[in-house]
């Protein structure tokens, strides 16, 4: 079945440093989504990428979708303590007319003040 690999599993940074998490799929994806889960909370949707080579920005967050639609990245510039949490990518695959999201294992971001 489809696998979505995400690295690194953990990342410690000093406040103000940049952070990047990477997501790789064994198969071509139709879409990819990113979610953030705060400690003790539930995943919250951040963004969806659809097009090959797409780049989207949300303030300090930059999301990229690879040309082959098999990989994606999330980059945070100048991290803040409010960025703490686990970031998940989810690759969507078509299944009988539905789109089934498969999540990576997540990258936990720890920001030291």
């Amino acid at each position: 079945g489809q696998q979505v690999m995400q690295i690194p599993q953990y990342q410690h940074v000093q406040e103000g440093e940049d952070f990047t998490t990477y997501c790789n799929s064994s198969t071509t994806l139709s879409n990819i989504q990113w979610y953030k889960q705060r400690p003790g909370g539930h995943p919250v949707f951040l963004i969806q990428l659809v097009k090959s080579g797409e780049v989207k920005k949300q303030k300090r967050l930059t999301f990229q979708f690879g040309e082959a639609k098999k990989n994606s990245s999330l980059h945070i510039t100048a991290t803040q303590t409010t960025d703490v949490g686990t970031y998940f990518c989810a690759g969507l695959r078509a299944s009988g007319g539905s789109y089934i999201p498969t999540f990576g294992r997540g990258t936990s971001l720890i920001v030291h003040p």
Partner: protein, 113 residues
């Protein structure tokens, strides 16, 4: 946030007992999903539903069954709970094919002794 309610939020039970978790949504979303979240494993899909009485298995469906008799309710049943099913269970809903954005409930923490 979408109106998604999970119950119970916390449950402790003994091995061999049946357990049912309920997910209730007020958004009239067509798609509903049950995920389990375990340290180091991210979010793994148990079962999903693409309509009333239409369900399918996810990647970790063994030991679980689901039912969806109404659009708003999606039940997850553990017929005979085992310690390996100790986890946090998240329900998610999604409205549109291809858009795929998921809205998550608050989670249900299940401990099987």
């Amino acid at each position: 946030d979408a109106g998604i309610t999970q119950s119970p939020r916390h449950k402790v039970t003994e091995t061999g007992t049946p357990v049912t978790l309920r997910c209730h949504q007020t958004e009239n979303h067509r798609y509903m999903y049950w995920y389990r979240q375990d340290p180091g494993h991210g979010l793994r899909l148990i079962h999903y539903s693409y309509g009333v009485k239409d369900t399918d298995k996810g990647e970790v469906s063994d030991g679980y069954s689901v039912s969806r008799s109404k659009t708003e309710d999606f039940l997850l049943t553990l017929e005979s709970a085992t310690s390996s099913q100790t986890s946090v269970y998240f329900c998610a809903t999604g409205g549109r094919i291809g858009t795929g954005e998921l809205f998550f409930g608050e989670g249900s923490r299940l401990t099987v002794l």
